[in-house]
Symmetry: C2
Subunit: 343 residues, 2 copies
Amino acid sequence: MIDERDKKILCAVVQSYINSPDPVGSRFITKKYAFSLSPATIRNIMSDLEEMGFLSQPHTSAGRVPTDKGYRFYVDFLCSEEYQADNRTFVYELTRELESIKNDIDILLSETTRRLSNFSHYLGVALSPKAGIATFNRIKLMKYRGNQVVTILLTDEGLVKNKIVDVDFELSQRDLNRISSYLNSEFYGSTLEDIRLRIIREMAEEKILCDTLISRAIRICREALSFQYGDIFISGFSEVLGLPDFSDIERIKEISKAIEDKHLIIKLLDKLSKSEGIQIIIGSENSAVEMKKFSVVASTYKEGNKPIGSVGIIGPTRMDYSKTIAMVDIAARFLTGIVSGNR
Amino acid sequence: MIDERDKKILCAVVQSYINSPDPVGSRFITKKYAFSLSPATIRNIMSDLEEMGFLSQPHTSAGRVPTDKGYRFYVDFLCSEEYQADNRTFVYELTRELESIKNDIDILLSETTRRLSNFSHYLGVALSPKAGIATFNRIKLMKYRGNQVVTILLTDEGLVKNKIVDVDFELSQRDLNRISSYLNSEFYGSTLEDIRLRIIREMAEEKILCDTLISRAIRICREALSFQYGDIFISGFSEVLGLPDFSDIERIKEISKAIEDKHLIIKLLDKLSKSEGIQIIIGSENSAVEMKKFSVVASTYKEGNKPIGSVGIIGPTRMDYSKTIAMVDIAARFLTGIVSGNR
DNA sequence: TATTAGCACTCTGATATTGAGAGTGCTAAA
DNA sequence: TTTAGCACTCTCAATATCAGAGTGCTAATA
């Protein structure tokens, strides 16, 4: 088993590797940390830790490097401790500079991720509020250029979605008003996802659609709901290029491929958002192959008590977890505050 | 002066360098192109071309590489010729797959740039319609959660912009309707830029604002107009990573820095959109330092006869100009068709 | 029994050396 | 004006060398 002393040494190794990306040797540990042990002893312990899978050697006669399991141990250990990094400037920037854009969630998120990446030097990511669980507030239809209708959909959470819909039948603004008041009374208080499902169901049971007004209402509403459900914001690519972890071209291609496929990251964040609090995934713990060399720290922001979106940081497994966790936590709380304060 | 034969050899050099990124030597030219001249003669000519600034040598005893001036000559020559690459699949993809999203200009542009980058292996870029020159069609105001107002602004061009505005005074929906009908009659047919200027002017002359209704109308309208004016779409970063031109890390940092600063590219495209037709900027011809190692091929798409946005390709100076020009042209015509057909 | 000093061994990474290959410029001949 | 011939230059890849850092093992020590 791993005893107290081993733990401390493991953490020391992880920490100094995080600090600078050179494999750490036994002598270095004795010098940097006051364990009052000789290098030889440290070597023995490190050898044990390697056997247990926490450390590995890039080659014989190099120092040790943490494995993903090693990082995992370190992070779990961290979380059981009090940590406090100095994030005052970060908090300050978020609150001072972004408070004013609270009404535009997209800009808010993109600015937040930008600051996350600026301060962390990793990728900042955020998932916009999930439209599916948003609550229908009202829909407004406006006649527009020829046979087009502009639909405007409001939710209780502050989402405003508009869509231009082509209709193949003649409709007056009065018809549209009737249609929208039908939809408003019919759907008020439902979630968009429920509405979507209900529409699909009702369209299947074609008989109901005999009533032209209702039929048209449903068709327009379906279009109005057909926007992209989860939008993702990623920023900081040029930040990660500066990291020593991305000094060779293959790694760069890897991460750019991972970013490219936004769908992948949306899915990932979405999965993480199912759980409460800060979620951490380290390297190979990722289910997607593309992400197996990166770590993800993510949390959710809420409207009231309902988690509506995610925010996080993606970086190399050799990541300053302590700082990263703190920053993601701050960002999540900040967003929650803004979004919830908007009612 | 440069005679006909020199021209042909220059073009041959540029072409084979574009074809593969090795400095091209005299022997190679004699073999690949049927000039019925010996390598020695070619050498003399190439030496002349170097003196004239069209070619350069990476080092003594390497082949020649085109300078930016060389590319420029080649491109100008190209443009005077008939060229026709096979872009049928590209055209097909654009028309078949994107016709259906004609009502959502943002998605349309992002999908178009994606395809541009897929087919060209360079960066695809597009500038969304300039809101400034768009024509005010109508504004709609809706009361929303407490003291908020949702503004929806429509333009003749199919732009729909919404904004949540905090108001610090009590307003009924009836008040809002009055305000919007005031704004609608006041601004109908003006461009958004004119409206913006007028609002600034009127707010400066405070006396006019004695009338509370008008004063509030103006304030709300100002907010409604305060969205981001030019949005840019860039895609294909992982495409360029595959190019031999970006096989070293410094080049990658350069281009990622250039992309990072979207503002820069917006300005660039905006400037290019002042002229008619396909615009080509090669390397050092760029005014911005960050872009001096890249080439830009851009055109505008129009609504009717009015250019409203830009589309283009950014890549290394060693670019397949012929193909690129054709693709940008196709994309611009395609977008023009969609946008203009929407009325 | 746990720790440590000593030492041989291993692997990396920087530096220097070499030689083939490709291409040039120049000169003199056609 | 064009071309053959040739000496010269530069790159790039392969190879050798060597200091430095770190390990593992053994035997001595507390």
